[in-house]
Symmetry: D3
């Protein structure tokens, strides 16, 4: 159950209206890396984690709720940046009041001009935020990644926080309003905080690589296919040991030749690895048993109740 | 700022898993008339109402927050209806465990069969909700109507509540689980409650018709164009007095002829109305002045702060 | 069956091209509250109403057809506002003819500059309308609300007309062309007319509240949850009698406490209402019987023919 | 201006309800190759053609209007195929009436089972059509191709009619209802008729190849890059004369080598063609002049009126 | 299997950055007629053609691969046109560095100003291309037409190439950079080449009209319905012989009257054609047999392997 | 420039058709975590990395090209799983051939039945893949994350590989075909390989945390807001040291109280950290300088050429 207090989590202010920046800021209201996307991602992931992983559930709901609170901060800032548009539009009988401003009154002209970056502020939302990105594209449920496995979902979240952070970093360069900068700095820094929370939570699950349960075929886990020819680069991603499995990278210099000669990789043999088909199979079975039992024990197969009153 | 308690607003329970119904219920999670759509609509409308209409703002945030709480109830119910899917999928090493159930074990087969209505529960979300409607279409920001005018927004909300109500009414016919029915009945009834709240709020704004500020041209407000020929019906929508303006409906029997003869309506004269171009112009100016001043007085044109600490 | 005459329903004219306004006007061509959305909504609703409600069917098809005619007026106006773009683009061999205009020829420059608000007019549609809103977002079938119940659909239409009206009201403030204003005024006023038609039609259905058939649980229909704390407002939406059911609003001051103490509302008892579980059940059954029989009588269960020739 | 008569263009009937086929048939109601897509495509193209090409405008509006009439036929057939669903849903108080049918009443069970292909018929539209394709994806304005040039638009239409035709051909194989087959056969055949109309109209424009105005660089118009290696095929698309320009195809056996040696095609010289940079430039200028003057003469640069009353 | 070389198929260069044109050019990167749409269309069509039509498969894969190579050229050009944006954004600590440029440094101002056409270059992509059209609408899988029949797919491709050609023709008018023009001219000309390849391939299939297998009902294939009244035009699309079937067009002057009198076309008799229901039925059967056998022979019904190593 | 060989990277085979699994497998063809999404993400990111980070560019293009090759493998497998559908549909004249199979021929019935999971295979694509996910939702350009900073993009890729891996893990449980399992195992394992490549590449950039350039405000980087009340959990995400910055987590037990008392966090002071506003500012400036110079040096501000011939 959610609850709302009218105080914002951060004391958002603006020095003066700036509709052009309001338009850019929509990117964090209804854009793919914005606050609604973050809030809905953690909220949606939380359902499948509720019964088997109550600690992760608590963390996801803490952060999801904070992201909803950030969504409110972003919306409030956009609203204040739009300034008098809503009121001006109510003056509907004055013949093209808004348009007349364009003739001779320089300051207002700039205001209108900058607002034109997003015509929907005028003709659709009447001077309020829209659930879109900075180009007017409506928010989509497909922005949400929730795959029912904490070793995957937490990584999705680490990446999502990275993207949200960089978008705020970019946005801060397009305003000189110290109040707005302050708010953006708060929001950006919170992404840095959340990033570390998700990283720490991921570390509490062991093993967490590869993500999910299955280990992967030892014949194919350490090949590097040199598929972009010319100006080839070598680095720890295609030479030396691999990061997660500690296998030795096998660099396939001429992939077309290799694929044809290996009968489409079917005859390719594992190299540079200690893992075998057998060891993988054993590990797969162990992990399957452990992970499925963990979930099955926590989720009743018959009658189910979401929570007790009061929640302990 | 939002806050979350782990207790649901309603004590959601299920008697046993039913993934087919979980799939249908997605319509109210991520569908166009679902809880996310309602929550985001009232939340988004609230921004423009904050400063000029603090009472409407309070109501919108109360109801938006309740809708977020309903979204949680719907998600929790879907999760419980999906039952053991997440756990079964973790048993990944068992050769097609889930598929083998199809041979001979009737009860499980039904389970799987019904789950197949929505393959994404298996291959994408891993046994959790998706931010989509019952057919898998992702939620869209375009579901949200927020037009910056309370006489419009409140009507959008009355209609939205009507649609949400009927979808719950339909859904209730596809489950025999008494716990689930109980939850759906709660949710459906709340839409009835919200409907009346929005209706009452609309009545406090006078005049509220026509929506917005401008009155409309008296030449065109009471014509009925009979554009679908054959089996014509007459009723209070095209004879007698009109509901809002109290004008006498003018039935245009043969619209093509009338349009041509009136030079594309340009020569059409007002009939059956007391309103004149002059009276309309006067009313337009009065309303414009009143409504724009109301907003302008409340919204500062320079520095602005969203809220005080503590909020009074 | 549809038929077209080349005369527009309204004599649309423009004083001179204005591509910036053409771009804004797209909001009513392919936007969520535009003419295509209205036409398709009433047209789609009409199918389910055809056999059980022939009078509503007639009205919906009359208005749907008028909205298609309005769509044509809007498209024609956009086309005229785009003026010479299509012809200029045909002059393709002249080295950047359009671009060269930017150097020194002030009037043309303005033209081009304003057209840049919507680059698709140049590089995609070649100087004609696109089936998008003012930001280029393609029209979506999800804009259409049709839920198979006249007490819901007519309310969706009242809201849709309200939104369409306000968008025209906003648009009129961004043109000074008297011809264009005249056309927009006609279109805006027609929304006011349609609003009243739908309202009158809704009144002919009794009872029409709650929308649909089921009455709602008397325990939950008159509670107001005070979920947004601080600066709370009271008004007819949370005190006194409710508008539709005439119950007394029950204001739940501290919803978290109340939910926990009422075992997630499960132990909550009805208050401030004469309706009981029993009376509701009775009404539900009566309404179910009446409404289902009405439809079933009109819709053949075997062979079916849409219409007779000629239609009577 | 549109007009509607209640008679369908074709006498659509069904022998009995078949909701599974109703679901498939949605492909032609709200799918990318369906009747709404066709109607909106020709209607949208018509705007830019109105003043410079009144004969093409007439044809496009004739066919667009027919496609709207087909949309109505498809919708009517879907409605009849859905049969009693709308009425059954009104019987809302009967405890899971629809679900209970599943136990023991074989015929009804089949009905319900087949309806489950599209859950939205039950929980969203209440037994009526939706503006989606057969999978529930909402219709999109991006289905419409209108590029402001008849040599392009007419080709888009020929292709659109081809796709619409094949979809009807496929659909006809999934019904055994003779009435429905008859209707589908009518609709399919009309696509064949329209195909030929567009083809004939394209022929009246000379030259119509290449589409648009510019002729294309003679160095690049007759090369065939053999970019998919192994099992290469030769045919009139890469040997002999090209269809439109009558140039001799130049087969580039080893494109990587050729690109590198020709400095990224920059040093490639024309071969197998009589066209030269000079002849192309001349033709480009002639065509530009002719085509742009044709349009500019027809489209006034100042005041403009869409049509006269009455239209001649 | 794909392979990449770092050389572009065409030596793409720019004279200087031009972010406004970069924004327009996105239309051919992620727009409905752009290179990704073309590449994915031919690639997707190729799968169904692989076994029954290996020669068409080879052609489709040759051209699809070329379109992917063009996508790379377009992306590279956009990147170079965006110039220093990515680097400037990295200078994040300098207080509004980018914004400060707006004061007094004219040249940079223009740069920024023109970049503002697409705010996502700044706040989302950080100075790189986005998978959207020129208005920011994300690329959609619905742009791809692949219907499993070469007589349909090849026509879709001819139309697609026509649209791609005209968009390049339009784009060339908005740049004066000779390097960019050169690249666009190459890309535009390649569309002209591909058009002719698809046309030639279509000709190798006989008969190829009507598209697909079924011939169409002789009663409905040559009627022209005069559904847009006033200013009617006659031409080879409604008088004389039809292009594909060589039937005589039947002009239905008054379609409403005709439809009513013919009982919804049910009593309409074939005229102006030699085809009969019988001859059509015969042709349908022959074609069905021939076409289905051709495919069935090539596609194994049991075990299947996509290719041999090495491919012959 | 891309090049294609007809051999698949992996020798894909199927034992027999299975259209139900073909439908599920679409999730990896045109779904949000599928091969097209991966290929386009790395390909799009590569543009901005080309000049400043040639080694990362090489890696991204190697992997992007492999993902395109995987897209081909997935498409080929879907095509083989669809088996004879395309051929059956060509037998169009046989009265409902496909439907008749439903009566009495058990094996074929199963085939048809399972195919019905995705009606578009029959009525749209004619027995070939569609560019959609398993529910028919078209692929969207919004699936692609490319933000112009390697410390962000590589993290997006690590998460994308995790999701792709788990979807394959899930999919493998819904087929018993050993050939198909083998192919899926290859594809799943390659995601594990790519994950490690991206991880290794990220490590070569130092510092890589926080992602981007700016360090974040020391007042807000180590607070944990306990916003979901009841059943609170403690763990390394809200106690002890944070993972990236090594600060001590500050647990805010009662966030509402804290926010109000700290004047909306404006008066909140840093605790548990050595970082100061000053040290952050210094680091921000250093990093800004270093990172922007790195990029600016590599990207010419005037004339630019994408590559040399031959590429070194």
């Amino acid at each position: 159950m959610f609850y709302h207090v009218k105080e914002l989590q951060f004391n958002a202010r603006v020095s003066k209206p700036d509709p052009a920046f309001a338009s850019m800021l929509l990117e964090q209201f209804g854009g793919p890396n914005g606050e609604l996307a973050a809030a809905m991602q953690y909220f949606t992931q939380a359902f499948a984690m509720r019964q088997p992983h109550p600690d992760k559930y608590d963390m996801l709901m803490d952060i999801a709720t904070e992201e909803f609170s950030h969504l409110e901060i972003v919306g409030a800032t956009i609203q204040m940046l739009l300034g008098p548009i809503n009121g001006e539009l109510k003056n509907a009988a004055e013949e093209a009041e808004i348009m007349q401003l364009l003739d001779g009154k320089a300051k207002k002209e700039d205001f209108i001009h900058s607002a034109m970056m997003n015509p929907q502020f005028f003709v659709l939302s009447g001077g309020g935020p829209t659930v879109t990105n900075s180009q007017g594209v409506p928010w989509s449920g497909s922005y949400v990644n929730a795959n029912g496995d904490p070793t995957v979902d937490l990584r999705s979240n680490i990446a999502a926080e990275s993207r949200a952070k960089i978008v705020y970093e970019y946005l801060m360069q397009f305003t000189t309003d110290p109040y707005v900068k302050e708010t953006l700095s708060f929001l950006m820094t919170r992404e840095v905080a959340h990033f570390q929370m998700f990283e720490a939570a991921l570390e509490t699950i062991q093993p967490n690589f590869p993500p999910g349960v299955l280990q992967g075929d030892p014949r194919f886990s350490n090949n590097y296919f040199n598929l972009s020819n010319g100006a080839d680069a070598r680095g720890p991603w295609n030479e030396g040991k691999s990061t997660g499995l500690g296998e030795t990278w096998q660099y396939i210099e001429d992939p077309i030749k290799h694929v044809i000669e290996s009968n489409g990789m079917a005859d390719h043999q594992p190299q540079g690895t200690d893992r075998t088909m057998k060891s993988v199979e054993k590990k797969d079975k162990e992990m399957s048993k452990e992970r499925s039992q963990h979930v099955k024990k926590a989720v009743p197969s018959g009658e189910n109740q979401w929570c007790e009153y009061p929640q302990k």
